[in-house]
């Protein structure tokens, strides 16, 4: 942990302890409400600052991971600030929860995106852009669901009895997805990543539980800011500070199985398409639902059509990207096959040279025999006394040449004998003559 992170952690611990003390003694009052709304904001700021320390120090995809992580914390902070603002200005006349709630959902989208980067893996794909597009698709789909199920109950009317259950279940689903993802990640990885993911898991279980508790308490009218109902949520976001402190010790490592990243990106894409596919299906099912106000039905249909237009445009873009990527890869493959062919040809040639060495060993006596014969005949020639001066010169030239050739063969043999270790050749030991 870096020195600054230690400082943030100490500060955060102080805030938590203070909260525990205050919650025990204080009675519900306006200052307590302001205090209770302010303390999560302070802890979130500390968490984001602690994560910021990791931006520049980490290798590979990790800086991006920490940026998304910090981004999630900042958005959570915004959502908290929204509530703080309302309570502080005493605008108690039931504020519209849309902004705060959608920010809360969005923050978790950031956390999910950070996890989808697979920060523990050293293999960073070339298709980061396409995957980012898939993630954006998924988040848009997610917000369409919020817009479809929850939003219409708040737009134009304030029907919390319909809005709250749908929003709570969406938030719960989102938390469960993150928790399952973290469980899988911690099961698949080894230290220090396992400990890191496990801590995140604990934090998100706390957030999910705390959030649920908070909402139930609010609906039951038992909640007031600054009470013990705040504790699980505060503890959860407090945990993010030591989690950020893990940063300097984390290093990406190679995947245990090849192509895992590719497989994951294929499945992300399929998931995104499945999500998009679900929207018109949900709308079709919604058409069969009777007794809904007309404006609500229209709002939903407009939302689905609008979302489909937006998502469809993105899918169009993505398909184009995919096609371009594919043709690029095909070109690369073709080039590398050409390259392979050239290398193969070179190897064939080398193989032939090697075989030639082997062949030469076998053929050495085939060359030596005729050379000996030529030498013999030339000696016979020089033995003829009537040989003219000029002819004798020829005969001697022949002898010289035979000597030269013989020397070449001998040197070759010596070379073959020395260099072939272990000797792949059999050398004819018979004397040449």
């Amino acid at each position: 942990m870096l020195p600054r992170q230690k400082f943030y952690l100490a500060f955060g611990t102080f805030v938590i302890l203070l909260h525990l003390v205050v919650a025990a003694v204080a009675k519900p009052s306006f200052p307590l409400t302001v205090y209770g709304d302010a303390s999560p904001c302070v802890i979130l700021i500390l968490g984001a600052l602690a994560a910021r320390e990791n931006f520049r120090r980490s290798p590979g995809v990790l800086p991006l991971f920490w940026k998304l992580f910090a981004g999630g914390l900042v958005i959570l902070l915004l959502s908290q600030t929204y509530w703080f603002y309302y309570d502080w200005r005493r605008l108690n006349a039931s504020p519209s929860p849309i902004l705060g709630d959608s920010l809360f959902l969005l923050a978790h989208v950031f956390f999910l995106a950070a996890l989808a980067l697979r920060p523990h893996s050293a293999s960073v794909g070339r298709d980061l852009r396409i995957r980012a597009l898939d993630l954006v698709l998924l988040s848009l789909w997610w917000f369409s669901l919020y817009g479809y199920f929850s939003l219409p109950w708040q737009v134009g009317r304030q029907d919390f009895s319909h809005y709250n259950p749908s929003y709570y279940s969406l938030a719960l689903i989102q938390h469960l997805v993150i928790i399952i993802a973290l469980a899988v990640l911690s099961a698949r990885n080894i230290a220090p990543w396992r400990a890191f993911y496990l801590q995140l898991l604990v934090a998100f279980v706390l957030i999910a539980g705390g959030n649920l508790l908070l909402n139930v308490a609010i609906d039951a009218g038992k909640y007031y800011a600054g009470s013990y109902y705040d504790t699980p949520f505060l503890l959860a976001i407090y945990l993010f500070i030591p989690i950020a402190g893990f940063g300097p010790t984390l290093e990406p490592r190679p995947d245990s199985k090849p192509n895992r990243e590719l497989i994951q990106s294929v499945w992300t894409a399929r998931l995104a398409m499945l999500g998009i596919l679900s929207l018109p299906a949900i709308a079709l099912l919604g058409l069969t639902e009777k007794n809904l106000p007309v404006d609500l039905v229209n709002f939903r249909l407009r939302l689905v059509f609008g979302a489909m237009l937006l998502l469809g445009t993105m899918v169009y873009w993505k398909l184009n990207l995919l096609a371009r990527e594919l043709s690029h890869l095909v070109q690369l493959t073709r080039d590398s096959i050409e390259n392979l062919k050239a290398v193969q040809q070179q190897v064939t040639h080398t193989e032939k040279l090697i075989a030639l060495g082997r062949l030469a060993a076998g053929a050495a006596h085939e060359i030596s025999n005729p050379l000996t014969a030529i030498f013999g005949y030339s000696e016979l020639l020089t033995d003829i006394p009537s040989l003219s001066h000029e002819d004798r010169a020829h005969a001697q030239l022949i002898q010289q040449e035979v000597h030269r050739a013989q020397a070449a063969v001998t040197s070759l043999r010596n070379n073959l004998r020395q260099n072939s270790s272990p000797p792949p050749f059999t050398i004819d030991k018979k004397p040449a003559s």
Binding site: N259, V266, A269, M273, L277, P280, L284, L287, L301, V304, F305, M308, L309, G312, V315, Y316, L319, L322, E325, L326, S327, V330, L332, T333, R334, S336, I337, N339, L340, V343, Q344, Q346, V347, T348, H349, E351, K352, L353, A355, L356, G357, R358, L359, A360, A363, E366, I367, P370, L380, L381, L387, D391, H394, L397, V402, A405, A408, S420, P422, T426
Partner: protein
């Protein structure tokens, strides 16, 4: 013939029979074709099947229920919808060859467009069926949609005529004629029906009969086309998918898919339509969006699978290149030895050249003594023999492109045996048998010599390990190929299926490179031949090489070194 039941019966039966025959023939064409053409016939078949069904229903209503000019919605739908596969059949461009992967791709686009036109029809025309008392509006829109569909088909067919070449052009021309007749017939009969003057078998049916006949001719023409259009793709070796060209249809399909939510938004904001029409259309639009998204998902998956495959192929190729490069550096020393041999061989050739010159000087002198003549002649002969041998070795080592020439294979095998140590091994019996004579193959003697040397050297190793045995080489002809079998009685191959893999070796480290047989495999492939291996049940390995026969005959004075070898110079 007067208007009446008999005429109607005749007219209906004739039409149904014609269109049913066309459907049947199209189905036959579909079964007998392949790749793109197959899809063409499939779409054609679908179109004509829809037509048959609609005409059949019409006939049943008219003859069975005695309803002149029946008004059955199913008939209308089928009648309109059949235009879509007919158009699609041309749009997939069956006359062009394309890779399987992108064929699936284009087909998906066609499906999207088909779905969309169906949607538009249901949206704009069929919806009025649901409204009570909107028959006139319905008829008007139906005629409009029908006309638009037919005009589109005519235009598409016309463009195809302009674009296509050869036999396909004739086919498209017939297609164009048929759809033009049909368009005329359709307009005419719609007009006549609305005017109340139509009856089955009337003169208004004449263009329709002409169109039907043209369609039937087209399918018959397609039969002969199929035979003249052999499988082109099978022969050309493709390394991977060709670069995907961005088709107009791809973008069109996407734009069309994107237009559906826009239509949905428009529907919601315009309140003029009657409520039941509006809700029907909204439901329809949602359903279409769902189906279109489904098709797009499939498309995306195909692309993703392509990417996945390409990436894997790429990494495989890269790793083979790495291994080959690695091998090249490792075998540098051995290869330099081969280079040395080549150098020495050149030196010997120099010596032989000068000996030959001297000996020819000696023999060319008329006044010399016969003994000198004789000896100088002998010297010349030996020098020539050495020269040929060395030349042979050099030829073998050269990095020459493949020179395929008609070749008698037996001498090449004999010279390989000659070079090899196998004959000198103790307790080893080598035998060559040839069935028949004078079979020539197309081959490069240097390259084939390499192959034989490799096989013989492997056999020698095997027999040495076994402490002796037999090595039989059989040359026998088959129908179009010469079959060579190299059979040894050694211990056999450990893994016959892996023998030709690069870098596969069973020899101790440093002895075998594991590339000898894979190089052989490459060489035989270049000869359009095949090499395979197996173990004999009674023990020992069999290598079989098949080489295609040469079509030309062997030239009389062949310069092929192997033929010199065969003449007993060695």
């Amino acid at each position: 013939m007067p208007q009446g039941f008999a005429l109607a019966a005749f007219g209906d039966t004739a039409q149904v029979a014609l269109v049913a025959a066309t459907t049947f023939l199209a189905f036959q064409n579909f079964l007998g074709s392949h790749s793109r053409v197959r899809i063409f016939w499939f779409l054609f078949f679908t179109g004509s099947l829809l037509w048959t069904v609609s005409n059949g229903i019409w006939a049943v209503y008219e003859l069975w229920f005695a309803q002149p000019v029946p008004d059955v919605p199913v008939v209308d739908i089928l009648l309109f919808v059949k235009v879509v596969p007919f158009t699609a059949a041309i749009t997939i461009a069956p006359d062009r060859d394309q890779d399987a992967q992108f064929r699936a791709f284009g087909l998906l686009d066609v499906f999207i467009l088909m779905l969309y036109s169906l949607y538009l029809y249901t949206f704009g025309v069929f919806a009025y069926r649901l409204l009570p008392g909107a028959v006139d509006t319905y008829n008007f829109y139906f005629n409009l949609a029908d006309a638009i569909g037919n005009q589109t088909l005519i235009v598409v067919a016309g463009l195809a005529v302009l674009r296509a070449k050869g036999q396909w052009r004739g086919l498209y021309r017939l297609y164009f004629f048929a759809v033009a007749c049909y368009g005329l017939a359709s307009n005419l009969s719609n007009f006549a029906i609305d005017a109340g003057r139509y009856y089955t078998g009337s003169l208004y049916d004449m263009p329709l009969i002409a169109a039907l006949l043209a369609f039937a001719c087209l399918v018959l023409e397609g039969r002969s086309l199929e035979q003249a259009h052999p499988q082109k793709q099978a022969t050309n070796l493709s390394l991977g998918p060709t670069t995907p060209t961005t088709f107009v249809s791809t973008h069109l399909a996407m734009l069309v898919a994107l237009s559906t939510p826009v239509i949905g938004i428009w529907l919601l904001s315009s309140a003029s339509a009657p409520p039941e029409l509006r809700s029907f259309r909204i439901g329809l639009t949602l359903l279409t969006i769902f189906l279109l998204t489904l098709l797009l998902s499939i498309k995306q998956d195909i692309l993703a699978a392509g990417l996945f495959g390409s990436l894997q192929r790429l990494s495989e190729t890269y790793s083979s290149i790495e291994r080959f490069k690695n091998h090249l550096t490792q075998s540098e020393k051995l290869a330099s030895l081969g280079g040395l041999v080549a150098q020495v061989a050149n030196q010997i050739k120099d010596c032989m050249a000068s000996i030959l010159e001297s000996s020819s000087r000696l023999t060319s002198r008329p006044d010399t003594d016969s003994r000198i003549q004789n000896m100088a002649g002998k010297i010349g002969q030996y020098a020539l023999r050495t020269d040929v041998l060395v030349e042979k070795m050099l030829h073998f080592a050269q990095e020459t492109p493949l020179r395929l020439a008609p070749l008698d294979i037996k001498p090449v095998i004999e010279s390989a045996l000659h070079f090899s140590r196998i004959a000198k091994l103790p307790e080893v019996r080598v035998e060559i048998t040839q069935e028949g004579n004078g079979y020539l193959v197309r081959g490069d003697s240097g390259q084939l010599l390499h192959v034989f040397l490799q096989l013989i050297s492997n056999a020698a190793d095997a027999l040495e390990e076994a402490g002796g045995g037999t090595f039989d080489i059989t040359i026998r002809p088959s129908r179009s190929q010469l079959i060579l079998e190299f059979v040894d009685s050694g211990p056999g191959l450990k893994e016959p299926q892996r023998v030709f893999e690069p870098f596969y070796t069973t020899k101790p480290v440093g002895k075998g490179t594991g590339l000898g047989l894979s190089t052989c495999y490459g060489i035989i492939q270049q000869h359009d031949g095949e090499i395979s291996c197996r173990n004999r049940p009674e023990g020992g390995a069999v290598f079989t090489i098949q080489l295609p026969f040469a079509l030309e005959s062997l030239p009389e004075n062949s310069q092929d070194p192997s033929s010199l070898l065969a003449e007993g110079v060695l």
